[in-house]
Amino acid sequence: MDLVCPAGNLPSLKAAVDNGADAVYFGFRDDTNARHFAGLNFTPAKMEQGLRYARERGVKLFLALNTYPQPSGWERWRSAVDRAAELGVDALIAADIGVLDYAAEHHPELNLHLSVQGSATNYEALRFYHQRFGVRRAVIPRVLSLSQVEHVVAHSPVEIEVFGFGSLCVMVEGRCILSSYATGRSPNTYGACSPASHVEWRETPAGLETRLGGVLIERCGRGENAGYPTLCKGRFQVGGNTYHAIEEPTSLNTLELLPQLRQAGVAAIKIEGRQRSPVYVAQVTRVWRAALDACERDPAGYRPQPEWMSELSKVSEGTQTTLGAYSRPWQ
């Protein structure tokens, strides 16, 4: 299984390459990708440097172009596809049917991956993208159980990449507009969920309040850590109870499932976190490289090492990790 690691800037890209990534994914510095954050992503010059650095070390580069252009933005996305083809990236990760269609028609040599933002949870959908655009790999949403992943892989016409570690979306990616409901901006339209431009932090007598688009997402008492107010990870009231009504602020960590994912025929493991620091990228890549190598050497004897788990929990959101939908404790 390949290890696909995130890079929000050149130092992160180098960290991923140096610590054992098989491929690194990155994006242009605009709303054509789903990590459109201030100060993040690559200018053309940095991208050239990154490409050279990765190429010299035999690491692949995937370009994320995985938001949904509207007519007013179409030219920007189209030229981004052209630039990706000129750069000669090893794969273009796209979600929008129009973008995939354009890329397949104008750049038939470009290797296409379906982004997780393409919301493909079943093999019939994967057949569509494969037959129409020649997509070769798909990243599947973080909502499927392990047995469902196995079933998709068994029937899929394309390679399957799954998320192994990082922030966890509990909603089907590409189909969640909670963020734009509160702020007017969503991953689909703007390339960011719960954008920082719409976040407010306020000390109040009731505690530290964090708001998104004016909506109270979290209120923390003394001694509690206030996390970033990602909409679905707030504490809300339902039926008189106040709790994480949608999801707790935890990270996905599937280290212990590696032998099963390998057995299922999963082609690659994706690490989330282009918005995270080069230190995060280095630590996570190092641990996952060691784990993948150990699993490859001896799948039957593979056990996640305690030091891997503790390394990873240090950099996890909310410092807790979960197997997410793969194990479904809530099922």
Binding site: A120, I177, S180, Y181, A182, Q237
Partner: protein, 301 residues
């Protein structure tokens, strides 16, 4: 413009559902979308029941469209989808690309959970057989105007104009979670919430509605005052989403505005009383979805 009734997004007892559609048969909606789109565990009406209902509504003069599941995870769900797509008697609304794959080459409708954000996507799907598309919920009237200019010949445009907005889908069931129940033993708690279970912020602002694996807006999206603009934009079908409270009255008010028999502002004021929480229309105006324009706010008073 014609009026449609979108699929029933909630889980109601069988008798209530059947009685509801008996009333719909008498209502002025021309198109009725039928079927379970949210959760495959909701089986009080089985596929055969939906098909029988479809026959009855067709006999009553309605154009019936079979609507399909938005989130397809299991083989059982795909099997059911293949039966719907293969039935052949009715037009089918695809709510996932898996359904588009099964329907390609024949006429079909694409629901709002199929992301059609630009003209190139619309053009490609039209070549696959797209006959009608539902405009994505988070896009604005301005974007619709541009998309309408690029719309291929023979493709109709449908816009949701009434209802709580479906905002997200998950493998998890949030209604079961609210009751500390696992999904496999959810005890069909959705039956207790005919319009979804309202979720509030800690300051008690009513924000979202939990509808099983679907998360909706607490506020009701309402474009009754925008129907002239929709007509100018060449919208063909105006969709009303079912709710437990007086859907027939909602239909009637929209119908009268369409006929020119009732001023939109008056319909708006009356519709306000039929919303579980209040209005929103921000997406249509290019803002945050939960925003309500002044007209919408005025009607609260």
């Amino acid at each position: 413009m014609r009026l449609s009734l979108g699929p029933l997004l909630y889980y109601w007892p069988k008798e209530e559902t059947l009685a509801f559609y008996d009333r719909i048969a008498e209502s002025p909606v021309e198109i009725v979308y039928l079927g379970e789109t949210v959760c495959s565990k909701r089986t009080l009406l089985r596929l055969d029941d939906w098909l029988a209902l479809a026959e009855r509504l067709a006999a009553a003069g309605k154009e019936v469209v079979l609507s399909t599941l938005a989130l397809l995870e299991s083989e059982a769900e795909l099997k059911r989808l293949r039966r719907i797509c293969g039935d052949g008697r009715f037009l089918v609304e695809a709510n996932d690309m898996g359904a588009v794959q099964l329907l390609a080459g024949r006429p079909f409708v694409a629901g709002h959970s199929v992301n059609i954000y630009n003209g190139r996507t619309l053009g490609l799907l039209a070549r696959e057989g797209l006959r009608r598309w539902v405009f994505p919920l988070e896009l604005s009237a301005e974007t619709l105007a541009e998309l309408q200019r690029q719309r291929p010949e023979g493709v109709e445009t449908e816009v949701l104009a009434w209802g709580r907005l479906p905002l997200a889908y998950s493998a998890r069931c949030f209604t079961a979670r609210a009751h500390n129940l696992p999904k496999d033993d959810c005890q069909y708690r959705c039956l207790d919430y005919p319009d979804g279970l309202t979720l509030s912020a800690q300051d008690e602002t009513r924000f979202l509605a939990l509808n099983g694996i679907q998360t909706q807006s607490a506020r009701t999206f309402n474009l009754v005052t925008e129907m002239d603009r929709m007509r100018e934009l060449g919208v063909d079908v105006v969709r009303i989403s079912p709710q437990s409270l007086k859907t027939e009255t909602v239909i009637d008010l929209f119908h009268r505005v369409l006929q020119g028999d009732l001023p939109a502002a008056e319909a708006d004021a009356r519709l306000r009383r039929l919303m579980p929480v209040g209005p929103c229309d921000g997406y249509w105006h290019g803002g945050a979805g939960m925003a309500a324009t002044e007209a919408a706010v005025r009607s609260i008073g």
